[in-house]
Amino acid sequence: MKKTLLVLKHEMLTILRSKSFILTLILIPLVSFIVILVVGALQENNQGQEIAEWIAPRDKVETHGLVDESGMIQAIPEEMSTRLLQFADRSAVEVALETGKIEAYFVIPNDYMQNGLVYYYRPDFNPIGGMEQTVNIDELIQINILSDQTELLARIRNPLLLESLLLSEEPQRDPESGLTFLLPYGVTMLFYLFILGSASLMLNSITNEKQNRVMEMLLTSMTPIQLMTGKIVALGLIGLLQTVVWTLAGYFLLRLSGRTFALPEAFLLPASIIVWGVVFFILGYAIYASLMAGIGALVPNLREASQASFLVIIPLIIPLMFVSLLIEQPHSISSIFLSLFPLTAPVAMMTRLAATQVPLWQLFLAAALQGLSAVLIIRSVAGLFHAKNLLSGQTFTLKVFFQAISGRS
């Protein structure tokens, strides 16, 4: 026990004192905050933000021109007439464009009724940004086609004034709202990054010690399990520290920036999610950190290590690929399977928890299965810390990995 604690203390102090760790701890939330602030300011229609206006000015097309080659437009309604000027033909409108009377123009071709296309001419092209400011040509055409049938016109403009009577009792999340997807997705990504980050620390630590041959000396004084446990717990605590610091930093920076982050009732995450988050983080981390330790024991140098670790990370990425399924159909069979299978469970279960309420027995079952796999993996990886693996410069292949784990070669 004492030796494990020794390893633990040493590992933690080394990392906490390294410049790169402190740098990443502070830099990442700072940079993300700056990016979010800048992007958010640029995309909102915020009149007071002068810097935003300077960096990415809102495209202001004050007046549009219109050439109607189809003959459908009899009159332009008054609300639109300040922003839309009609011209007789294309040459007239091009002259107006050059003299600056208009900044862009529409052309309704004479085959409009058959094809439904309206051409929008802009000198700077800008198809995506330019779309936001267009005068509603569709409305204009409808008003002109149905000029004498006001009731029909009103019905076409608003065919569906919907009132919903929902039978289910769960508070409903509006499927249109971006948060329905973004909130669980954000939780998933965060969780994935935390587990991955902490597990990579493990890989780095072991590979470095193997490379500068310190590992062999350490193993004369303690058993592999003591070494591994000490490292796993130490790096887990560091990972947890990183997580907590970043979450708190994110929270406080958001408050400081003055944005109110009032989530509607259906989106409020229950406090229990934090408890389960910690539980699944610890279990998921234990599984992946020990797998990474196994890789670290087998690979000859750091470069091969990062390539090999990619193979092991694949089960962790699978829930990310199925994230929309997990969010929108959290009670389907595939979702339940993904959240119980120990390798995919840490991330998948968190996604489901952020999207809906998960029955308690599933949570306990998942935790139990993960705990079991963690113990099994740690035992088999400890067996890898044997001289023959640590001293060989053998290239890492999957075959070697499986043979070593099963005890042969």
């Binding site: 790169s20 990016v35 992007v39 640029l42 995309q43 300077w54 960096i55 990415a56 000015p57 409009y112 009724m113 439904g116 296309l117 309206v118 929008y120 001419y121 802009r122 000198p123 700077d124 092209f125 800008n126 995506i128 940004g129 779309m131 040509i137 569709d138 055409i141 086609i145 149905l146 009731e151 029909l152 009103a154 019905r155 076409i156 065919p159 569906l160 004034l161 919907l162 009132e163 919903s164 009577l165 929902l166 039978l167 289910s168 769960e170 409903q172 999340r173 499927p175 249109e176 780095n204 470095n208 390539q307 690929m321 199925f322 929309s324 399924l325 929108e328 159909q329 389907s332 595939s334």
Partner: protein, 399 residues
Amino acid sequence: MKKFWLVCKHEYLRHVLRKRFIMALLSVPLTMAVIIGVGVLAAFVSMDFRPIGFVDQSGLFSNPQPLPRTSRGWFPIVAQSQFASEESARQALADKEIQGIFIIAPDYWETGKVTLVAETLLDSSIYRDFEEFLILNFLASKPETIRERLASGAEIVVRSTGTERQLDSSNFFTFLVPISSGLLFMLAINTSGGYLLQAVVEEKENRTMEIVLTSVSTNQLMIGKIIGNLSVGLSQLGIWLLATIVGVIFAIRAFPEFSNFRLDPTFLWVLLVTFLPAFVMVSALMAMVGATTTESREAQQISALFTIPIGVPFWFMGVIMTNPNGPLAIGFSLFPLTAPVTLPLRAILTNLPFWQIGLSVALLTLFAAGALWLASRAFQLGLLRYGKKLSLRELFQKA
């Protein structure tokens, strides 16, 4: 002259002839195919295709025509099925035969009121399809062209004055091309950059460096290594781009709605003219880092300093796409590290003034030349230095 070519060939073959290279080459298109396949699969599994029931209490829809289309691409459209009364509809809902009921109120014509009864909120496409269904049916008495036109509305095709460019629903995804070529560029640079970081490590470790340097000058070695490793990255990029083009041609044949896809030639030569100097610049910087640092971890951290800025435009992608002529976009197009990703994207989205292209390329070439000079200094000073790190200041001092 022949010597640097020898080094170049050796470096290139050393990497390309390994199994790992072929695997990495194939893994990218494979991963893309898997991700797209899984995404489509997940979308399919999560959608509910049961019909939606409706009850007409207004009397306007006694003989309704179904929607003309039954599917949208690969996904079938949810059908509308009529029920005579609210009770029979609710019974079907309870039996889970339908997803929900739209009840058209008796005063629908004046107010447009419709009530939805369902378990949970439905997919948004169901509402849109029902709107179209309603419009098509209460216009039943009008001639067919007017019906269709009023129901589906006008489609706006954006064109550019002066040049022959157009964006409509058929070539809407043209801007995916610069985004994906930017991503491929980042991947290729990371690969060849990674190789360059380790370029001289092997020779230094087994002391063959001294022997090599009796036959080759440091400059010849440096240029050979840089061009050799760079060509590895370029080959990867070339093969991926070729695969993408083949995929696009296949997609155009398979989905005739994309047949209007045309790639602006300006985009292609902007791509060429920014990627090449950028590749050379980053490769030279990586070679310099490889020759100066002693520990691989440190080398990776310093190289991140160069590779991360290349990806920064992706964080601001939304802003660049909606404001391709704003100062942010222009700034990114001129700064050498962010230019290769930003400039081709802007070439598709707007009419690029020639001075911007010229200035950006000039800056890139200048920085590439500077990086090459730094790398050559690093090689001159660092190749026979073991264990001690070469500091930046020493690079600038007179030899």
